[in-house]
Amino acid sequence: MSVLLQFVHPVARKSRANRALLDAARAVQGVTVNDLYELYPDFHIDVAREQALLEAHAVVVFQHPFYWYSAPALLKEWQDLVLAAGFAYGPGGTRLRGKTLGSALTTGGAAEAYSPTGHNRYPIRALLAPFDQTAHLCGMRYAEPFVVHAAPRLSDAALAEEGARYADWLRALAAGAPV
């Protein structure tokens, strides 16, 4: 099954973690990389093109740094415009039904911080509820998220390891495995 990787980073040039992940992802067969900030620097999203891409892939992955407990702004704009009524939800909105949605993110905070006792108070899975529910409304399965914690502190070698783990995760999604 083919994977549409929506890469969402406003300044990829300065990214370490997401770039490392992206490099690993590019080597995985069947992955189409769609760099949203590169395509729509002015937030003017080509809705028809994006919808066609969605229809052509069985798995959709949002890869992004965790910004303010969510994704960078362009992904929100993308959702607002592309996941239109009659396409993704609502009457006649069945085009995404049966597909899989996955989140792949890097955070500044460590894993321990994302717990009831940690600074961020909520587990990461709970903070991703809007994505989960979005998938649900569109009739998609929401895969277990792929998370790299404390990304800015990771060494290059550690990032490379995370890259390999990411590639496995993507391959499993592509194979239709229940991750």
Partner: protein
């Protein structure tokens, strides 16, 4: 020689700026400087003839450069217009003038020579004036260019056939100094054809390899040397076979126009040309026969009158024949009246061949020079008298039957100027169901736009009656999208005075225009180059590897900063010292902004804890 060079240069340095100040153009400045130095005024010119020979090389270089601008392929593409418009202009004008000459009892070779000499128009003067007045892009400007191109090309046959005048006619004086003297015309012409073939062959097989070899050495000065060598070489060869050096280099130029070294050649020859051509004009001025002019004012005025009437008459007819609007036709007719600097070459050639007598040559020289003095005045007349009259004559009639007040009553927007800027605005509005009333001044362009389905009213938007007819009293928004700052400001003033309720959105040419608009209280102005400059900057950053979004934000940041700066600087721009120091500060502030990296989303380390056990953050 040094003293003389000093005198000439000093005269030029004085006269040219003065002439330019007076709006008369540099050519006239040189001519006046020459006239002042000439024997009848200051008598400082010394042996003008000696220098003159040297100076004629300026013309040779000019023709080389004109040739370089003409690619055979482009010429071919516009052949119909060239031949039709240009061909008819030269042939009919020269024919009529020659006929007038014959009627006045001038021998046919002299009459023909005079006709051709007066029919040509100065490429240098006209192109420069059209560019100065921003008329190059108008249909009239384009037609003018076609005619000038044809004239440039016509130089080949003219020079090739010129000796026939000397050989065939019995009325001319005996030729002296001409290489062709004494041989029958056909033989001479045949010899010339051989010479031409030689130049074409040299251009193909000698010059290009030479340049390639020099380019490989990488020595910049060597290129200048080679460029001069080519021009001088061609000139020498052509003169040796009895052809005009000017013709030879012109053909050489055309042959090299498609070569990869065109730009280097232009850059290398240009300064020499400028200098020598200036010298040439000075010597022409110095050789103006003042006593003759004083003695024969009637003859000169008659010649000038014939030149003006015949040339403009033929051009008027041609303009209408080739379907130009009246305003464009008049532009064509006025701008092309001026005589050609090349005429001076033809005159001295004819003198040498004995086609023209000394007095005839003197009269023609004076006429052509006077026509050059006339050009700036004709232009003034066009701008001050013809354009307003034409509009006065046309606008009411058109306005009355075309702008039906009831039809435009519910239009909220009026757009003045429907060119590259205005038409985008108009289309955007129309796409949103907001029809605007559109005014434009270019009759030919309006025809074109109408064919595309836009309703555009012809008329000068600065006229109050037209503004009323267009519904300015009911409209809410007025978009001033005309490209001439002076007109734009005049329109803004009229609107502010008579329709103060309108919101004005104004296209600004650049900073100065923007400052002028602010002085008049215009809040919404948009500089026409800013958008594409930002696009270009953004694209360049992207090509350098910056992300698309980052580059886009940089462009947006620049725009915001610059819009603020252009408003802040407006109050200072008349005071140079303050202005430049403020402008520098503003530039530095902008660059500092990117050093601080505030314009891109921060990659804030505070989100990541310094050590795993630090739970205070992230």
């Amino acid at each position: 020689m040094l003293v003389q060079a000093f005198i000439y240069l000093a005269a030029a340095a004085l006269a040219v700026p003065v002439a330019k100040r007076l709006g008369l153009g540099s050519v006239l400045g040189y001519l006046l400087a020459g006239a002042a130095l000439g024997p009848s005024v200051l008598n400082l010119a010394g042996s003008a003839a000696e220098l003159g020979h040297f100076a004629e090389f300026g013309v040779v270089m000019l023709l080389f450069l004109v040739g370089l601008e003409l690619r055979l392929s482009e010429l071919w593409a516009m052949r119909a217009r060239l031949l039709g418009l240009g061909g008819l202009q030269v042939v009919v004008t020269a024919g009529l003038l020659a006929a007038l000459g014959l009627a006045a009892d001038v021998a046919w070779p002299a009459a023909t020579a005079g006709g051709v000499i007066l029919a040509l128009s100065s490429t240098a003067i006209i192109i420069q004036t059209l560019q100065e007045k921003r008329l190059m892009g108008t249909p009239g400007g384009q037609a003018t260019f076609s005619i000038l191109l044809f004239q440039a090309l016509a130089i080949i046959p003219i020079l090739a056939l010129w000796p026939l005048l000397g050989g065939g006619g019995g009325a001319g004086e005996a030729g002296h100094g001409a290489a062709a003297a004494g041989r029958p015309g056909w033989q001479v012409a045949l010899g010339y054809l051989g010479g031409l073939a030689a130049i074409i062959a040299a251009g193909r097989f000698l010059i290009r390899p030479l340049f390639r070899a020099i380019a490989r050495t990488g020595l910049r000065e060597l290129f200048t040397v080679a460029a001069l060598l080519v021009v001088v070489g061609i000139a020498a060869i052509t003169e040796a076979v009895g052809l005009s050096a000017a013709l030879g280099t012109f053909i050489g130029g055309v042959l090299l126009a498609d070569s990869e070294y065109r730009h280097e050649l232009v850059a290398d020859i240009e300064p020499f040309k400028g200098l020598l051509l200036g010298l040439f004009f000075i010597t022409v001025g110095a050789s103006l026969d003042m006593p003759l002019i004083a003695r024969e004012p009637v003859a000169i005025l008659a010649l000038l009158g014939a030149m003006v009437l015949v040339k403009s008459g033929v051009l008027l007819a041609l303009g209408r024949l080739f379907r130009l609007g009246w305003d464009q036709t008049l532009l064509l007719a006025l701008v092309l009246i001026v005589g050609d600097e090349f005429a001076f070459v033809l005159i001295s050639l004819s003198r040498a061949q004995g086609v023209l007598g000394a007095e005839q040559a003197g009269l023609l020289t004076a006429t052509v020079a006077l026509s050059m003095a006339l050009t700036p005045l004709l232009f003034l007349a066009y701008e001050r008298i013809v354009v307003p009259r034409l509009i006065a004559a046309r606008a009411p009639a058109k306005a009355a039957d075309e702008i039906d007040p009831a039809a435009v009553r519910d239009h909220e927007v009026i757009i003045a100027g429907f060119g590259r800027v205005g038409h985008v605005v108009g289309r955007m509005l129309r796409a949103h169901g907001r029809t605007a009333t559109v005014l434009d001044l270019d009759s030919d362009y309006i025809e074109l736009i109408r064919k595309l389905g836009f309703k555009v009213f012809y008329g000068d938007a600065t006229r109050l009656d037209l503004l009323h007819a267009a519904g300015a009293a009911h409209a809410k928004i007025f978009v001033v999208a005309i490209d001439q700052p002076a007109q734009s400001l005049a329109l803004v003033e009229t609107l502010q005075k008579h329709f103060p309720h309108l919101t004005l959105l104004v296209r600004a040419e650049g900073r100065v225009h923007a400052y002028e608009l602010q002085k008049r209280g215009v809040k919404f102005f948009y500089r026409e180059m800013l958008g594409s400059a930002l696009d270009l900057g953004e694209a360049t950053l992207r090509q350098l590897g910056h992300g698309a979004h980052e580059a886009h934000r940089a462009a947006r940041a620049f725009r915001r900063h610059d819009e603020e700066a252009v408003r802040a600087l407006a109050e200072h721009w008349e005071d140079d010292d303050v202005y430049f120091s403020e402008a520098r500060k503003s530039i530095e502030a902008f660059e500092k902004m990117f050093e601080d990296d505030r314009a891109t989303p921060p990659s804030d380390p505070a989100w990541a804890p310094a050590a795993p056990e630090d739970r205070s953050r992230g």
